[in-house]
């Protein structure tokens, strides 16, 4: 990478923001139209008609919406967490990918949050879930895992946004100095008057390190808390002590795979092949293998201990998930996607193959979506009283909204690429080293 000059870096990044091709607008408008069709209209329909338009029923009161929620929270996991961990461990290959990864975190949290509202029976009363003083003496229930969620996700979204923002300040300043018009005032405001003095760099570094340390336990706690939504119930298949680590590992796993997918698409889309190279996919591939093994281990633990309890509750729930059509297909597809295919990453050849990495990472994400779907939709229909057993399958509204979340995420990312320096200019420069001085010696 050392043959790239600093100017080139600046140019490349600013180019992504200022030069807008027709294909970008087409993608953007497709996204917008898609969101209206797959997300907006069905949601309005759902709000107007009621949750009855979903496939939910008694006792399967949770379905695809919560699957999506957990999935997107999971995706959110890797970005910031990975960035923070790699930052603390001073891993050099972090630098060219972390900005997008952090953005991914923030956007997927936002996407996940939309699912909360979509899932609610009376979303117009959303603010009741926040504790605010009122004359009616109504308060929120801090014993509820959902209440933990409100705060965990709120904190996580805030923290990851700040983390993203702090890291971007020098770049925003760099952009500010190179653009004109409304952009100049926008980035001028965003850059908070960054001048690049030593003191500023020093403070930024300190703040950034602080957040990096802060965000690691936070990220772990967020997904633990999300898992407690399920694990603190009494329901067979959900009430598992392993769930918190299982979810955290699953989240990092799916998040990492998400990064791989995203990076491959991004470098292609904005022609950043020279910044995101085989090196990155090589390292990420190793990470995925490790996570895959961890995930498999936890998954086996979950299934094994459930099976070994020998209670009718666990056995029925597990056999419904693993050996009953159509869920058995999904289950074994998930095992294939999450346990077996990622093992191919053991081979360096696979790791550095962009196509293979893309396919496997997409596979992992499909697998992880299925994992969450199976956890919810094979546990609730098999609760304690067999008389109430009834299968759950999503309705067209739920499927449509699920597609909509992906479009929504894409839209956010498209806007991000255009409005935000999606690669860290100053850190890529660090990566390049100091060519001028080197030349001098």
């Amino acid at each position: 990478m050392s043959n790239i000059s600093y100017r080139e870096v600046n140019d490349d990044v600013v180019r992504t923001m200022t030069e807008t091709g027709r294909s970008y607008y087409i993608a953007l408008s497709l996204c917008l139209v898609g969101i209206v069709i797959t997300f907006g209209l069905p949601w309005v329909y759902q709000i107007y008609t009621g949750q009855g338009v979903t496939g939910l029923h008694s006792p399967a009161y949770w379905g695809v919406y919560l699957t999506n929620f957990v999935f997107w929270i999971g995706i959110s996991h890797s970005g910031t967490l990975l960035s923070a961990i790699l930052f603390i461990t001073q891993t050099p290959w972090r630098r060219s990918i972390y900005r997008s990864a952090e953005a991914m975190t923030f956007f997927s949290v936002v996407t996940a949050a939309t699912m909360v509202f979509v899932h609610m029976g009376r979303p117009w009363n959303w603010y009741w879930t926040f504790p605010y003083p009122n004359q009616r003496e109504l308060w929120t229930n801090f014993k509820s895992p959902l209440m933990f969620d409100v705060f965990a996700i709120g904190t996580y979204a805030t923290a990851s946004f700040i983390f993203l923002y702090f890291g971007s300040i020098p770049d925003l300043a760099a952009v500010r100095d190179r653009v004109a018009g409304w952009r100049k005032s926008l980035y001028g405001a965003l850059a908070l008057g960054w001048r690049g003095t030593d003191r500023e760099w020093d403070l930024l570094q300190k703040a950034y390190t602080f957040f990096a340390v802060f965000i690691i336990p936070l990220a772990v706690s967020v997904h633990s808390i999300v898992s407690w939504d399920f694990a603190s119930s009494k329901i067979p298949g959900l009430n598992k002590t392993i769930f918190a680590p299982y979810f955290v590992i699953g989240a990092i796993y799916s998040g990492s795979a998400g990064i791989v997918t995203l990076m491959i698409l991004l470098r292609k889309a904005i022609k950043f092949e020279k910044y995101i190279t085989h090196v990155h996919f090589d390292k990420l591939g190793i990470l995925l293998v490790v996570m895959s093994l961890l995930w498999t281990y936890v998954n086996i633990t979950e299934v094994f201990t459930g099976w070994y309890t020998g209670t009718s509750y666990e056995l029925e729930s597990l056999s419904y998930r693993m050996f009953t059509t159509p869920f058995a297909y999904l289950f074994w597809l998930m095992i294939a996607c999450n346990t077996f295919f990622p093992l191919l990453f053991v081979f360096r050849k696979v790791r550095v193959s962009i196509v293979a990495a893309l396919l496997i990472s997409i596979g992992i994400n499909i697998g992880m979506w299925i994992e969450r779907y199976l956890i919810i939709s094979t546990s609730l229909p098999r609760k304690f009283l067999p008389n109430m057993w009834r299968d759950y399958f999503p309705s067209w509204v739920e499927i449509s909204l699920t597609v909509g979340t992906f479009l929504f995420f894409t839209l956010l990312f498209l806007l991000f690429v255009k409005l935000w320096p999606s690669f860290s200019i100053y850190e890529i420069k660090e990566d390049i080293g100091i060519p001028m001085e080197k030349k001098g010696h």
Partner: protein
Amino acid sequence: MKRFLLYLTVAIITFTIGYNINLIYFSDRAPEQPINFSHKVHAADNSIPCLYCHIYADKSTISGVPSVQKCMGCHKIIKTDSPEIQKVVSYWEKKEPIPWIKVYNLPDYVYFSHKRHVKASVPCQRCHGDVAKMDRITRQTVIFGVPFLRVSPLKMGWCLDCHKNGAKEFIGGPVRNGTDCWTCHK
């Protein structure tokens, strides 16, 4: 452009304010009743007690409006020449009830018992205002001839306030289980 945005913002904000002012302070104004009945004449000038006409107030959840028969009980002889009384008579002769317009309305999900409140000797005026001064029943206090602010907002916070503190005047302490949701909701 900038200016237009400003105007738009201002318009939206004031629109909302205007809408809500009406909703909160001016809704349920004294509607025109089918008969120009004056509480002032009955309750103040003639000192008829409330329960004489609203006979169910200490027996039931609802207080009840007097039957036409009740009206005619007195007005067969009293003030029969008044045009308003003649309206009553015409209802009576047509054997039709008088379609009064409801002023105090509670939503379906509220359980409110007049009986409990009357038995706890909460004066009617506490919630219904000084009806003895009203020619036409109204939920507003009148300041300098301008109707303003409702006597009772009939909102949950207002109810709770009395259940916690105000009740001391009547029962010497907060209402037992008075803040339990199902005390007032159904």
